[in-house]
Amino acid sequence: MFNNSSANRPLWLIPLAVGVLFLFLPLLGLDYGTSRQVQLSIILALVVSGMNLSLGYAGELALGQVAMYAAGAYAAGLLSIHGQTDLLIQLAAAGLSGLVVGVLTGVPGLRMGSWTLAMTSFFLVLLVPDIISVFKEYTGGRNGLAGINPPTVFGYDLGSTGYYVAMVLVTMAWFAAMRNIVASRMGLALRVLKKSPVLASAMGISVYRMKLMAYALAAIPAGLAGALFANLDLYVSPESIGFGFAVTVLAASVLGGSMSVYGAIAGAGVLQFALNYSSDLQQFSPLIAGVILIVGGVALTGGLAGMGETTVRWLGARLAGAGNDNARASAGASAGTLDHIDGQPLIANDVSKSFGGNQALDGVSLQAMPGAITALIGPNGSGKTTLLNIICGFYRGQSGEISLGGKEMHGLAPDRVARLGVSRTFQTPHIPDQLTVKEVVITGRYTHEQASILGVLFRSPRYRRIVRNDERDAKRVLELVGLAHLESVVATSLPLGQRRLLELARCLISNPGAILLDEVASGLDENEIKVLSRILRELRDKGSTIVLVEHNFQLVTSLADQIFVLAQGRVMSSGTPEHVRADPKVKREYLGVDTGNGDQE
């Protein structure tokens, strides 16, 4: 239970021990210089950790952490100057200020894609000094914010050792929270998002909201770090919060490994000590940071944390020996533990779509019923994929209705459509990297049953119940498709046939009203097609609504109950396989007698 897929569940015991060790460092009699560097490293590590959440896990490069840090520092400093010296209240206010800055800048920045947030947040960093001087009667302008009182907790003066302990505790609390976020189903969903926004939205995850959430959450540690900084020197200088700091944070993130929890501490520590220990080095610091960014971006994709992880895994593999389970995908494995699937009728009525002057779909209607396999076939360029994309919400048709179980959904965003119960696979399976088979399947029910952020952070009873459901349902669907014995294998290492079955399982776990399979048989060998056909028939018999989008005429006629043949954007023929096979127009289209038209996909 504990060591399933160590890669995605960062340890907590060792980091906890390291944290406790840090707590007792003052007892070891550190000199002032070193202990100050440790404190600055802690502050930097918090900011870097926030950047890891948005850059490493949500895949958005954003330098705005520095602005959030400034917001936190000034919020805490201003509170202190106005008499509120309680550190806890200041931390809460600072975290909140960071969050507000994060949301306000994330909303417009995330609307346009990756460079936009990078640049708006970059801009935000340059705005910090301007904003500070606009409000100079409160912030002290370029002279900095002076007159901050020593921090207290419940009225007790902390003193320098007490403050050090408080800093370590705050940092430990954040890293515990970060670890809980990453090692949760939310962490899995973030990986899906990073792999492919299209996949995420096809699974019902709103790309925009998910990224915004990660970016906004990432603002909290930056705000906390700001408060800690303000109380460390009892002075906030605008010079220390500039673009150089942003680059240092990014370099530390890349060096430590952006897609890691504890890499932030290593990266921050190395940079803090390397850049500031001797002042001779300071003028070279942009050069060093630049080199780290280039080398880190090119080579060290996992950073220091990645190297550590590889070592741990290598040791683990050594100790465990060659204990690979060589269980084969037994053809008759699926006992079928799902008794009944609640399929819904999927109905498209008179759908039209043109791209410029090219009429891709011209009044297409299609009905797919529960307990039946409906096939959509047609030559290249006939509009199959276009129709699929309209049903799933990736395109919007010019006219027509599409409904699932009577609920109209034409024109809704893909993630809404997915949440209404339309689930799909892709021509080339979309499988996020580094996840195990079971984890990939679990991501399929992320929006099916959603846990709150607080639930994730504190592992609430509700969150635990959802996780139990995740595990239970994953087991069921994996048994159904015959992959149960591979549940802890890294999913991307599976052969194509099994990856398709895995995508199917990922669809099934959300108990979808309709399943759309895009060229599900292409690239599979005869045996794999047999296994797939058997599973699909089984699903049909349990009541599932299945739509196959296929070229493979043979497969379709043997499997489908109902066939729609598309040609040049219209339904040319429809009915039972026998009927369609006998249709002379279909024969002509498929035997290639009359194919003079330049079709295009």
């Binding site: 301007d130 942009p286 280039i294 990736f394």
Partner: protein, 285 residues
């Protein structure tokens, strides 16, 4: 009117940066964070050649273009081409820009250095405003560059190939376009253009080591307002940024120009996320 001239001249510089971003974006769908630093480097090379070595002005243009092209080529080979994940290019080119910032301040220091212009530094009257000769020339220069780009991309094979690449790299490759070489060439050409243009930029901005960061930002805003990939958009976006900056500084105070530019950027993002000159297209699977 004096203010308008000043704003438009500044805007022309931002448009130059945006054009550089565009060339790289159109050829390889990547973003060279360090482009403004390349322009800055060109300004410093101009300073050394023109003010210290007293070389003839036309030779300085050639030298600055060549020097910056070489640096751009190195940047491409070290920080762009080996990067496997496209997302990381943002990180590596930011690294390159930081490195260039650091290099420039190590070599030339942090004090602003004046760069002269052959037509002189005395203000003249033009269309009801006082201008320095460099200002209308900058505006003219950037318009000429955009027109030249328009002409090259429609009349010459290399321009057509570039456009084909930006539409569909795979199809272009199948048609015999060497997309790696073209992307590299475009990257270096953008560098050379930045170097040559820097000779005109220097007299307006001075050679200062913080130039890169502020140009990078405002160039990006110009690009985002006009729309990614649109050359006329870069022109209009640049002018808008330059005017807002100057007018805000004049009527509200210097500390308000960046915030006002930011407000303008956010407004454009909210009203027209793809920029003024680009139509958003439907996404595909």
């Amino acid at each position: 009117m004096t203010l308008v001239w000043g704003g438009l001249a500044l805007g022309a510089i931002y448009a130059l940066v945006a054009i550089g971003y565009n060339i790289v974006y159109l050829s390889a769908k990547t973003f060279n964070f360090a482009h403004a630093q390349l322009l800055m480097l060109g300004v410093f090379v101009t300073y050394t050649c023109l003010m210290e070595w007293r070389l003839p002005w036309l030779l300085v243009i050639v030298l600055a273009a060549a020097a910056v092209a070489v640096v751009a080529a190195i940047e491409n080979l070290v920080a762009v081409r080996p990067v496997k994940d496209v997302h990381n290019i943002l990180v590596t080119t930011l690294g390159a820009s930081t490195f260039l910032d650091g290099t420039v301040s190590l070599i030339w220091g942090n004090q602003p250095l004046a760069v002269s212009f052959p037509l002189g530094g005395n203000a003249i009257d033009l269309l009801g405003g006082r201008v320095y000769p460099i200002e209308p020339i900058l505006i003219l220069l950037v318009i000429v560059i955009v027109l030249a780009d328009f002409w090259i991309s429609r009349r010459f094979l290399v321009g057509l190939a570039l456009r084909a690449m930006s539409e569909d790299p795979e199809a272009a490759q199948l048609r015999g376009v060497n997309i790696r070489a073209m992307a590299f060439g475009a990257f270096v050409a953008a560098g050379a253009l930045a170097g040559a243009a820097a000779v005109f930029v220097g007299p307006k901005t001075f050679a200062v080591s913080t130039l890169g960061d502020s140009l990078a930002l405002k160039g990006f805003v110009a690009l985002a307002i006009g729309g990614f990939g649109s050359m006329p958009g870069a022109l209009v976006g640049g002018a808008a940024v330059g005017l807002v900056e100057i007018l805000a500084a004049r009527y509200l105070g210097g500390e308000y120009s960046n915030p006002m530019i930011f407000v303008m950027l956010l407004t454009v993002f909210i009203i027209r996320p793809a920029g003024l000159f680009v139509h958003s297209s439907e996404r595909t699977v």
